[in-house]
């Protein structure tokens, strides 16, 4: 069995080596500079960033040089594997699940849990740090938890006949096959989110026998898609969206009554519509689980910057990072209590502290239901193939 082994960077390096072999092998000023400084380089999803890294610099003395990417796993995998970004970047942050592939393949370093700089590791709850989103199939721990959420859908309570406070548990039935919402629903075009949610719904209600709704075999997914096609043909969906901006626009224009979306989309829509007009659902069936993990690249071990990298990893579990992430994006993460502690100690307003407390309470309520989600499913290719039938009908 032959696989494509050399990375693009390796090929370029090989060619360049013939010309500058002596210089290249003996001295790399960029690496030396990074090793000697307080700079940590990171690559990953933009949602994990602080909007202002100088807060962190003032707090722990590190500087972050961040390269952002979107939530496209194809692009991310290409950059880590083929473009070999580990040569230049210390920390990688993406939807947990990538470690299933990038850990065993030797890109992510196994987490050194007893590293002296990882001071918050022990007090971080197992719900966050021992999730399968941070470990590979063999149970090897590669990442630390950064942020996470259980995704569901946004809705207008009055259109669904639900309570205005948003505390009702709403079934995904409203999104897929209720006559109340027919023609007024929107679902994401991605198989990963919508396909997994539909599979979980079908499994939950005994419509299809599925072992793992987040990693359906081709045959299981075929049955789910057949049902989804019936929903589509019945006119359930007003549109199938692709981007965050679309989610906001569809809600803000009241083009739909219910839409599976990211939670911040409802926040942004409410900025236009008025406070608490759109609610983000607590559901009957459960939530699409996602969590960003932070991973150190294996190649970063040789750059003499390991302590700083672990200090950075530790920061992602700290109260300061937690408070700012929850405040700026509404996302929860490990050690929410430290976030509230930080906000209180630093004179944040009562409203801001109450919002942080609500974020913690909300996540705890969601944890009462099943969580599902696997960005790097083994049967991803088969699921995507079947999903194409749904899109093309």
């Amino acid at each position: 069995m032959s696989k494509f082994e050399p990375t693009r960077r390796d090929v370029v390096k090989g060619a360049a080596a013939g010309v500058v072999v002596a210089a290249a092998s003996s001295f790399d000023p960029a690496k030396q500079a990074l090793a000697a400084s307080n700079v940590v380089t990171g690559y990953g999803v933009t949602t994990s960033q602080l909007k202002d890294w100088s807060i962190m610099t003032a707090s722990i003395g590190l500087e972050m040089q961040w390269t952002g990417t979107n939530a496209d796993i194809g692009t991310y995998m290409r950059d880590v594997i083929s473009n070999d970004l580990g040569e230049t970047h210390d920390i990688f942050i993406f939807d947990g699940g990538t470690e299933d592939i990038l850990g065993p393949k030797g890109h992510y370093a196994v987490l050194q849990e007893d590293h002296p700089e990882l001071t918050l590791w022990d007090r971080t709850s197992d719900d966050w740090k021992r999730t399968d989103l941070l470990k590979d199939a063999a149970g090897v721990q590669y990442g630390v938890p950064v942020i996470g959420n259980g995704d569901s859908f946004g809705y207008f309570p009055d259109k669904l006949g639900a309570s205005a406070d948003g505390m009702d548990e709403i079934s995904f039935e409203m999104l897929y096959e209720s006559e109340v919402t027919r023609g007024r629903c929107a679902t994401d075009q991605s198989w990963l989110l919508s396909g997994s949610e539909m599979a979980h719904y079908c499994k939950h209600h005994g419509r299809v026998e599925i072992e793992d709704a987040t990693d359906c075999t081709g045959a299981e997914m075929r049955q789910v898609v057949d049902i989804a096609i019936e929903w589509k043909k019945a006119g359930q969906f007003r549109t199938l969206h692709t981007a965050f901006e679309e989610q906001v626009q569809l809600l803000a224009n009241r083009e739909v009554d219910i839409i599976n979306c990211w939670e911040p989309a409802t926040k942004n829509a409410n900025l236009e519509l008025g406070a608490d007009i759109v609610k983000y659902a607590f559901t009957v069936e459960g939530y699409y689980k996602w969590g960003h993990g932070a991973y150190m690249h294996v190649k970063a071990k040789d750059r003499g910057n390991v302590d700083n990298i672990h200090k950075m990893l530790n920061y992602y579990m700290s109260g300061e990072y937690r408070a700012y992430q929850a405040e700026q994006r509404g996302y929860a993460g490990p050690n929410m209590d430290l976030g509230i502690e930080y906000a209180t100690a630093n004179g944040w307003s009562e409203d801001q502290i109450a919002n942080l407390a609500w974020t913690e309470k909300k996540v705890n309520k969601k944890f009462e239901k099943p969580f599902f989600g696997k960005p790097a499913a083994i049967h991803a290719a088969e699921m995507e193939e079947e999903w194409q039938r749904f899109l093309n009908v």
Partner: protein
């Protein structure tokens, strides 16, 4: 016809080789460069379409038709036929609108200022990226959009017209303006080059306006029409921003399908779909060559307009 034969030179492979070498180093250099940067990557792309992907990795060991078969099973072939249908429909609509408009602009519009203004206005779509151009239509065409709101307020309709957005209608509508200039400009250029004396002579010989249009202007403008069709049809086949934003996921086209495959690191699937596009474009080129041969060789297409 003799003149055309002289322009074309000797036919066949030998003739092609002779012509190529007679230009010195320029043509061979161009051909060699083109092979390296265009043809070889295309060959690699076709090869990729026979490979397999397992768990985000491309496997090179067992080339097969598996990916091609999956294009049928997954319904991706429907994206191909849908793309062809939309492309053909839009190209015809564009041609039907663009030809009379270009004719008026070239021969009917007497004011140089108006003509310059219109030409400038036609270039506006080139200044904006597709997303910015298209996103504005959503609040206009939506169920709570400007058109539906106005019509309902005026009592003309009782229910919002949902078909105006997230439908094939919306996609066709949204792609009219962006691809109009690519159809108009080549036709306008050719019509401008037609000597007015031809048209005058046709009138002097007693031809009706219709006869002049169909027997003089239309044949002479064929090079521009062919160019307009090519410049419009090819990008239409690759378009996916407009179908994505106005089709609302119900108008899945080739570009969407390729994009989805790339997002999931399914390079062989993307390669197979791209190969399909290439085959379709090659067929289009064959049709183009056949049509253009009626008016001389493809390379001398504009020569036929000389007096």
């Amino acid at each position: 016809m003799n003149n055309i034969q002289e322009i074309e030179g000797p036919r066949g492979l030998k003739g092609w080789y002779t012509n190529m070498m007679s230009a010195g180093w320029v043509v061979p250099t161009f051909v060699a460069t083109w092979i390296c940067i265009v043809v070889i990557p295309l060959v690699i792309m076709v090869y990729f379409s026979f490979l397999d992907v397992r768990y985000y990795e491309v496997y090179y060991d067992e080339p097969s038709f598996k990916i091609w078969w999956s294009i049928i099973e997954s319904g991706r072939w429907m994206a191909v036929t849908r793309t062809l249908r939309i492309t053909a429909t839009l190209t015809i609509i564009q041609l039907l609108i663009a030809f009379p408009f270009a004719l008026w602009l070239a021969k009917g519009c007497q004011s140089k200022g108006v003509k310059a203004s219109i030409i400038t206005l036609l270039t506006i779509p080139f200044f904006l990226d597709a997303s910015s151009r298209i996103i504005v239509w959503r609040p206009i065409l939506g169920t709570n959009g400007v058109i539906n709101t106005v019509l309902m307020d005026l009592g003309i309709i009782n229910q919002p017209m949902e078909w105006m957005l997230f439908s094939e209608f919306a996609v066709h509508f949204g792609m009219l303006a962006p691809y109009f200039p690519t159809m108009v400009f080549p036709i306008f250029l050719v019509l401008t080059l037609i000597d007015d004396e031809y048209i005058q002579a046709s009138r002097d010989l007693g031809a009706s306006p219709g006869q002049t249009l169909f027997h003089v202007i239309l044949p002479l403008s064929l090079p521009g029409i062919v160019a307009g069709v090519v410049f419009t049809m090819v990008p239409l086949m690759a378009a996916f921003v407009e179908p994505g934003m106005l089709g609302g996921g119900f108008v899945n086209v080739l570009g969407d399908s390729i994009e989805a495959a790339l997002r999931n690191l399914k390079y062989p699937t993307a390669a197979a779909m791209s190969t399909l596009v290439m085959i379709l474009l090659a067929l289009l080129l064959v049709v183009l060559v056949v049509i253009s041969r009626r008016r001389g060789a493809l390379g001398n297409i504009f020569q036929t307009m000389k007096r």
